[in-house]
């Protein structure tokens, strides 16, 4: 008799995950610490897909990306921070966006907001900008901070002028941006600051 079906359920990973999820009496989690095997899944995170598409590069793909980016980065007028961060999300395909004032208070947020909110991230961003500018006092003001964490990417656009307070627009997991695009976004926010302040 063919016994090919005898071991057709590989539940090792399922049980490992259950040990992690149900640390109740009677489960293995109590007996030993949970060590998850790394499954052989292929990650299709936004960054990976984007790189792949560009490596596979055809002129059509480049043209499509350019065509998508150019119209979105033309001058826009915003009458609210909500409108501003909505545009930033759309232009960069970010998962979420937020705006904080110079005190680190969140004044607008949109998209896939983490359960802990953006209050902590906003306050730390404002602190960090002050710290980072000390690295090179003669290099001028920081315009953009691009942070690649191992789980997601956060970009902060700093907007301040002589007549307005400092604001930071944070984007979570945006697509990689060229320096020209970053400058355009910063300029866009700056140009609209008088309407938003």
């Amino acid at each position: 008799m063919n016994e090919n079906s005898a071991n057709s359920y590989d539940l090792h990973q399922a049980q490992q995950l259950l040990n992690l999820l149900i640390p109740r009496p009677g489960t293995a989690a109590k007996e030993k610490p949970v060590q998850l095997d790394t499954p052989n899944y292929l990650s299709l995170s936004a960054g990976n897909i984007s790189q792949h598409v560009r490596k596979a590069d055809t002129r059509e793909v480049v043209a499509e990306v350019t065509a998508r980016e150019e119209p979105e980065l033309v001058l826009q007028k915003f009458d609210s921070w909500e409108a501003c961060i909505t545009w930033c999300m759309s232009a960069t395909r970010a998962e979420a966006a937020f705006a904080v004032d110079s005190q680190g208070f969140v004044i607008a947020s949109r998209g896939r907001i983490p359960s802990q909110g953006f209050e902590g991230a906003g306050a730390e961003l404002i602190c960090s900008i002050e710290q980072l500018e000390r690295i090179a006092p003669d290099a001028g003001k920081i315009l953009c901070i691009d942070m690649d964490f191992d789980k997601r990417r956060i970009v902060g656009f700093v907007a301040s002028s002589e007549n307005t307070s400092l604001y930071v627009v944070g984007l979570v997991a945006p697509e990689p941006l060229r320096i020209e695009a970053k400058q355009k976004i910063t300029q866009q926010i700056l140009d609209n600051l008088p309407n938003l302040d």
Binding site: Y9, A14, Q15, L17, L18, L21, T27, Y41, I113
Partner: protein, 271 residues
């Protein structure tokens, strides 16, 4: 504060809506104020209750700011049970609906608006592990995983568990798995029995209660009723859901959830 339970599964046809509906009824029959929320774009709860998919306003109307959330909630003839239906969503707009639920605070806002009024909020999700399921997992305290007693369902269980573990790690640290609920079990059939035996022997976190496959579910679905509401002899499957409700309440209590009851009793004299 309510215990928010999302009913999720990567595979379709595992009985999520049947479980969500009949569990909500069983909890409400015990006197616990329960809200059943239908976020499935199919509007499966409404369809299960034999309602046209344009009959009830609901989530779609709330999203379009046509109604406050309180006005979208439907009272039922079971005093402790209310339903927040999907609403009159145009099937052509499902992609947009998914996007809004995933990328906005809509669900968080709804839960925040109603959670003080209910002890249990049961969220019925669509099949799969897409954006809506992720959104539901992000707002719930608990997740219940129905597992159809058949091979494909068992082979895909790791996918669901992986997403639950990820959401708990990244989005919602308070999310806890209540357990795996075997559904559509046919113990008299070798294939179904073998699956259940494998589940019981290989996996932890399997609930003691299981839901058998029975004609009564098709009958209830045809009449647009929860099984406990059918006329005639009380179906044993309805008793299963009463047991399930009791087991889930016990687990929630063990996990530190608020069930509002301790079952403390005074000593009595027999003679």
């Amino acid at each position: 504060m309510a215990n928010v339970i999302s009913v999720v599964s990567s595979k379709g046809g595992t009985g999520k809506t049947t479980v969500a509906l009949n569990l909500a009824v069983a909890l409400a029959e015990k006197g616990d104020k329960t809200l059943l929320v239908d976020i499935d774009p199919l509007g499966a709860i409404g369809l299960s209750l034999a309602r046209s998919d344009t009959e009830w306003a609901g989530l779609a109307e709330y999203i379009m700011q046509k109604m406050p959330v309180e006005d979208t909630i439907i009272k039922t003839k079971l005093a402790s049970l209310a339903i927040l239906p999907r609403g009159r969503l145009d099937p052509l707009d499902i992609a947009l609906y998914e996007d809004v639920l995933h990328s906005s605070r809509t669900l968080q806002d709804i839960i925040a608006a109603v959670e003080n009024k209910y002890q249990y909020i049961i969220i019925d999700t669509p099949s799969g592990l897409g954006m809506i399921t992720r959104a539901a997992l992000s707002v719930g305290n608990f997740v219940l995983l129905p597992l159809q007693a058949e091979a494909l369902s068992l082979r895909s269980i790791s996918q669901t568990l992986r997403v639950i573990a990820h959401v708990r790690e990244v989005d919602n640290p308070k999310l806890q798995l209540l357990g795996i609920l075997a559904t559509m079990v046919q113990l008299h059939q070798d294939s179904s029995f073998d699956i259940l035996k494998t589940v019981w022997t290989s996996l932890s976190g399997v609930l003691e209660t299981y839901i058998p496959r029975a004609d009564v579910f098709a009958l209830a679905s045809g009449k647009g009723l929860p099984i406990a509401f059918l006329g005639g002899e009380y179906p044993p499957e309805a008793l299963r859901f009463e047991l399930l409700a009791t087991e889930i309440k016990k687990i929630i209590q063990e996990l530190g959830g608020v069930t509002g009851e301790t079952d403390e009793r005074k000593q009595r004299e027999l003679i």
